[in-house]
């Protein structure tokens, strides 16, 4: 290999890094991200993203160099990292300098003075020429990461990820801790700032995570085997204790976290319900349904019409009676949709169901059915669930009085949603292990062969639709009472797409996968409201990266794991 090759390789990587950095700057991501800090008053999230780009490019350049060399040598690797980081920084510096001379805003509306202030740490244009140096240092750090021994690399990368995570959610942690009162307030203020971690907080978390990972890496195996050696009874006690702790946290969480987090968790739980439902039709039986939001809408409207004290309330029954009815109505619609489209396979099925979802939304919001469903005005005044007896219905627009505990706040609905999600997850798991679950999976794998083994295709597919619809209907029912009103415009196609995506990201056919997928794709974006402008950019990026790097999903289903486990046993047996 010639020397120029290494140089050219590093330059190429650096230019790519610079291009990515410019892109991030010019679409306004840096500016918006900079409303959050990683370390308060030191480093904003936007600046961190740019530095991470430089460091990442340094790492990539170093890795390419080492693969070209076929060896890990410190000097060329560091040089490659330095070059790549330097170029990344240089391009940003050029942006600042040029941007100050020429008005770039005619084309790039985000190339604002505020952006330049951020990029130069508010120290004037001249400071821009320091940026290549920053980039070079970051690039070298990235390259140095490759040179570290493995046992150090893992704790460091974990610590970095943990740090970003803690910084992103520092506001949340702060509020929760301050709500505890007493000594919590002081420690909260010591660790977390308003917008990010404090400097001491950063150090404490970084060192803490590194230390914990190191301890776990060296002693974790021992602890695990010690637990495994315990007598059965103590193991059981240990397990019960762990469950009790989880239950304690789950029960106490909404009380300390306030309504916002409770509402986010409820939203996640509702998407888990829908995800579990679609997981039956799509994940188990392999029937792609792109109009799944229809069942959610049907559940929501049923509860709305049955419990509302507004003008569209048909009945004024308690929430608890309306929910089973909503589930039954959703199931009926599941059968209603299932019957005509049963003969359709694959892609055609997706389009047919897409149509169904849109029809339901358009009908619910139409002027034609407005006398029944309120049209674009929606159904409002949905009665909150009441633990106790409801007073009599007096007149329109006056809620029934709850003689007992009214579950009005998101913190209260939280319990309904979480208990429902757990219950449905349990039902889904039981179904999966039953003969029906096996029949669904057989249909997913090979419909003709499944039929030749005596499986009634019509019956089995229809059950998949009906049960999937039931789960989504329950989700819709809880949604109706959470918001207190329903509008057809909230039943968009994007909801169905979200559900399909969360199943794919979580792991097709996997029940824990649905939960992980809902937290990752619904929960995180809800919590990070500031970046909501870039929600779908990040969302798309996540999907592409997932499909390339981990197509089986974040938490793949049991069979894949079991297969890996089996391979491990075989290796053990040979050893």
């Amino acid at each position: 290999m010639k020397k120029e090759n290494f140089l050219w390789n590093a330059v190429k990587t650096g230019l790519l890094g610079g291009a990515i950095a410019l892109f991030i700057c010019l679409i306004g991501m840096v500016e918006i991200f900079s409303k959050r800090d990683v370390i308060e008053k030191v480093l904003t999230l936007g600046q961190f993203v740019l530095l991470a780009t430089a460091a990442g490019m340094g790492f990539v350049a170093a890795r390419r160099t080492s693969s070209l060399l076929g060896d890990i040598k410190p000097l060329p690797l560091l040089a490659a990292g330095l070059t790549a980081g330097l170029l990344t920084g240089l391009l940003i510096a050029l942006l600042v300098v040029i941007g100050n001379q020429v008005n770039l805003r005619a084309v790039f509306i985000n190339a604002s003075p505020a952006l330049y202030d951020l990029l130069t740490f508010k120290k004037g244009v001249g400071f821009a020429w320091n940026l290549p140096a920053f980039g070079a240092v970051a690039g070298m750090l990235g390259a140095a990461f490759l040179l570290l021994p493995k046992f150090l690399r893992r704790p460091l990368s974990r610590a970095l990820i943990a740090l970003v995570f803690m910084a992103l959610f520092s506001g949340l942690f702060r509020v929760v801790m301050i709500n505890q009162g007493g000594a919590w307030i002081a420690s909260a203020k010591y660790l977390f700032g308003q917008t990010g971690l404090t400097l001491p907080g950063t150090l404490i978390f970084f060192v803490g995570v590194v230390a914990l990972t190191l301890v776990w890496d060296f002693k974790g195996g021992q602890a695990q085997s010690r637990i495994a050696r315990l007598p059965k009874q103590s193991q059981l006690i240990l397990r019960v204790l762990v469950y009790a702790l989880i239950a304690y946290v789950a029960i106490g969480l909404p009380q300390v976290s306030g309504p916002f987090i409770a509402q986010v968790i409820v939203t996640v739980a509702l998407f888990i319900l829908m995800g579990l439902g679609l997981n039956i039709t799509l994940g188990f039986a392999g029937l792609l349904d792109l109009g799944f939001v229809a069942f959610y809408a049907i559940g929501a409207y049923t509860v709305g019409l049955l419990t509302s004290y507004g003008q569209f309330g048909v009945q004024h029954i308690p929430f608890w009676v309306a929910v089973p009815i909503a589930v039954l109505v959703a199931m009926a619609f599941g059968a209603f949709l299932g019957l005509p489209v049963l003969g359709i396979r694959g892609d055609y099925l997706a389009i047919a169901t897409l149509g169904f979802g849109e029809i339901v939304r358009l009908l619910a919001g139409s002027d034609f059915l407005a006398p029944f469903f309120g049209g674009p005005m929606g159904v409002i005044g949905i009665q909150k669930p009441c633990l106790g007896l409801l007073g009599p219905f007096l007149k329109v627009d006056v809620p029934r009085v709850c003689n007992g505990i009214e579950l009005g706040k998101p913190q209260d609905i939280y319990y309904v949603a979480v208990v429902s999600a757990i219950l449905i997850a349990f039902i889904a798991w039981r179904l999966r292990e039953s003969r029906l679950g096996r029949a669904w999976m057989a249909i997913r794998e090979d419909e003709d062969v499944a039929e030749a083994l005596g499986i009634n295709l019509v019956q089995t597919k229809l059950l998949a639709y009906i049960l999937g619809a039931a789960f989504a209907g329950l989700g819709g029912a809880i949604f109706a009472t959470l918001i207190g009103s329903i509008f057809a415009s909230s039943m968009q196609l994007i909801v169905s797409i979200n559900v399909v995506s969360l199943i794919i990201v979580g792991g097709m056919g996997s029940i824990p996968g649905v939960i992980v997928g809902a937290i990752a794709l619904i929960g995180l974006p809800e919590l990070l409201r500031e970046v909501s402008e870039f929600r779908y950019l990040l969302y798309g990026l996540t999907l592409i990266i997932m499909m390339l790097a981990k197509p089986e999903g974040l938490w793949p289903s049991k069979t894949t794991l079991r297969e890996l486990h089996h391979a491990k046993i075989e290796v053990d047996a040979k050893a």
Binding site: R435, R438, M441, V449, L453, G454, L463, H566
Partner: protein, 272 residues
């Protein structure tokens, strides 16, 4: 012995092509019979008509006194006909045991509601199903492979697993579509013995499609020859071997003087 399956004047057309043309066929109870013929002779289509994959356009197929030509595939399976496939069609992403358990589907009675509630009778049924699946797995000589994904099994075991899955439906008539395809001579020998065992021990009537003449001649009590969708000959192995029409169909006009024994060595074994 009385026939377990009788087909009368079965016709199956695909557009302008008549894949099966007025075939009369009969297989006695507890017999081992074969259907042979050159590529594209309509053998697999005839199988498909029996199992309901394709519906016969005309004619009648009677299984144990029940006309089945209008029934759905799953109903035919419940009556006691099961099959394997020319190109193996296992549920690739399910384990070996799960594959067999799907085959037992017909005999399990638990409704989905009782499964959700985890009622004792469901648990008992599932346990028995698992025992039966394990037994079938052992029967085909695949002890300890139950947790393997079907896709990761070696070729020969995939073939055997497919037979085990077919046996799980407790068939009276088992249709094997080229079971020896891709096997070496030793495996073929094992297979022949295994097919005999199926008949002798389990009392299952066996109908084969096979290109491997050594298997066909060695095992069949009765052979039916199809060519261009029509039945051109029927009889015992020795009758078929000396039948001039068969030799002509296989080797072309003028080759009728050669014996049939070597036919499989001269012609590719892949079927159409």
């Amino acid at each position: 012995m009385a026939p377990i399956l009788t087909a009368t004047k079965v016709i199956k057309r695909f557009g302008g092509l008549t894949a099966v043309n007025a075939v009369d066929f009969e297989i006695p109870d507890k017999a081992i019979a074969s259907i042979i013929g050159p590529n594209g002779a309509g053998k697999t289509t005839f199988f498909n008509c029996i199992t309901g994959f394709n519906k016969a356009d005309e004619g009648e197929i009677v299984f144990e006194g029940t006309p089945i030509q209008r029934l759905r595939t799953d109903q035919i399976t419940k009556l006691g006909i099961s099959r394997t496939y020319q190109n193996i069609r296992l549920f690739a992403d399910m384990t070996a045991l799960e594959n067999i358990l799907v085959g037992e589907h017909v005999f399990l009675r638990a409704s989905w509601m009782s499964a959700v509630l985890g009622l004792p009778n469901v648990r008992k049924e599932e346990k028995m199903a698992l025992v039966e699946a394990q037994r079938l797995l052992n029967f085909v000589g695949m002890q300890g492979k139950g947790d393997m994904l079907a896709r990761n099994l070696p070729y020969g075991e995939q073939r055997r697993l497919e037979i085990a899955r077919a046996l799980a439906t407790k068939p009276k008539l088992l249709l094997l579509d080229e079971p020896s395809a891709g096997m070496n001579p030793r495996e073929t020998g094992d297979l022949t013995a295994f097919i005999r065992r199926l008949r002798d021990e389990l009392g299952i009537t066996i109908l084969l499609i096979e290109h491997h003449m050594r298997v066909v001649m060695g095992i069949s009590e009765n052979i039916t020859v199809l060519d261009y969708g029509e039945k051109i000959a029927e009889g015992s192995p020795s009758e078929i071997q000396s039948n001039p029409r068969v030799i002509e169909a296989y080797l072309g006009r003028g080759a009728a003087t050669d014996g049939m024994q070597n036919a499989h060595e001269r012609f590719p074994q892949k079927a159409g």
